[in-house]
Symmetry: C2
Subunit: 241 residues, 2 copies
């Protein structure tokens, strides 16, 4: 390799690093907005303050803009820098993580919307508190998943999986409590069904947080930890069919 | 360009086309499994046949294996063939579509599981029929989204959007009917909540079908049709911050 090519490669590689850093910054800002919207929406479950939707809607639009922006940046990096194996894995993982963040944004928006609808037709405080408590757990999980992404910390990402299992279990027992509330007061069924959707949205956000951790582990270790029930021979047999 | 380089380029391009064809075939097989699982699960809502889970589980494992396989193929194509703008767009769209198909597979699995749980504690036939009817609409929508992907037909993909709106509206009115069923017979609330999750899963599958169509339109036309409320200046302002 002559000097010129080597300079060029170094130049490309430093540009790549710079662009990757921009990409990471944008993902982080996007994740920050998602977490903020979730915490605002969860707060509204307790305060029954319907005015939160103004700020939630504004942030939601920014979240969506970030999805489009990051997708474009991913395309440009791949097309112009042609990253090799490890770098490509990081870029592809970011492209997937952004998708999960956008979905989480949708779910946070949904929680805010439902909270604000419920403010004029309130379920029992005990039911709302259960939802808010699960919401805070989910917000902490989201933060943890995002932090592990910032530090590219695969061990921390592993912790997200076990925490999500604890959330799933709280989710299930909360649902049983909701059914009891409904049976005790059938007139509350309409609003309680709305609260069921809140629980569902929160549970989905937990799943998206684990998706982020799966992608991070893949990016860092090159190991696909999704679908651990699928073996290499399963994959080979469908590939060869 | 000398003859040798041109030969090499042609060789790379024909290899690219061959690999892209394999990729498309795998996505189609995966989509076929998702549609089959959905139709089986929806059928079980009417027949209350709990034995369907054996075949659904087997297909679900294949769906997951396809996700891993296609993701690997996407990585390999990008790393080895370094596709240019239009080709890269198609490959990136496929990487996103596969994610939606896998989620649809999860939702179809959920519907099957709920149908089989409900077989021993059945909701009113009228309620089950509403769910099955929505399920058939969604299965048709999934088929339509996949067909438009096979033919790379962006116009057909547009049709998916309006059809999904019709499904959302049927979903909303079905939910109102479910609330009525619960109020009329509070003892049914437990099983009716399970049926609510069936409706939710079906509605989510409709959303995933529209995601597939959005990706297809992006691949074919190079136009991002997600988040139409986001303007170019919105994107510019967050990029420059």
């Amino acid at each position: 390799m002559d000097l010129k090519t080597s300079d060029l490669n170094q130049h490309i590689s430093s540009q790549f690093n710079e662009e990757l850093e921009t990409l990471r910054t944008h993902v982080l800002k996007m994740a920050g907005l998602v977490e903020r919207n979730l915490r605002t929406a969860v707060g509204a479950l307790e305060t029954m303050d319907s005015s939160v939707m103004v700020s939630i809607e504004q942030a939601e639009q920014q979240i969506n803009a970030f999805e489009i922006l990051v997708d474009r940046e991913v395309m440009n990096i791949i097309a112009l820098r042609q990253p090799a194996a490890g770098d490509l894995r990081v870029v592809m993982a970011i492209s997937k993580i952004v998708r999960d963040l956008e979905r989480m944004g949708d779910e946070a928006y949904k929680v805010g919307k439902l909270a604000s609808e419920l403010s004029s037709d309130q379920p029992p405080a005990a039911a709302l508190n259960l939802a808010a408590s699960l919401g805070r757990q989910v917000a902490d999980l989201v933060k943890r998943a995002v932090d592990s992404f910032v530090r590219l910390d695969a061990d921390e990402a592993q912790g997200v999986f076990s925490e999500d299992k604890a959330i799933d279990s709280d989710y299930e027992s909360s649902l049983r409590a909701m059914v009891t509330f409904m049976i005790e007061d059938p007139r509350s069924i309409g609003r309680m069904v709305k609260l069921l959707w809140v629980f569902r949205a929160l549970e989905r956000m937990g799943d998206h947080a684990t998706n982020i951790s799966e992608q991070l582990i893949y990016a860092v270790r090159g190991k696909d930890v999704r679908h651990t029930e699928v073996s290499e021979s399963d994959i080979q047999s469908i590939a060869d069919e």
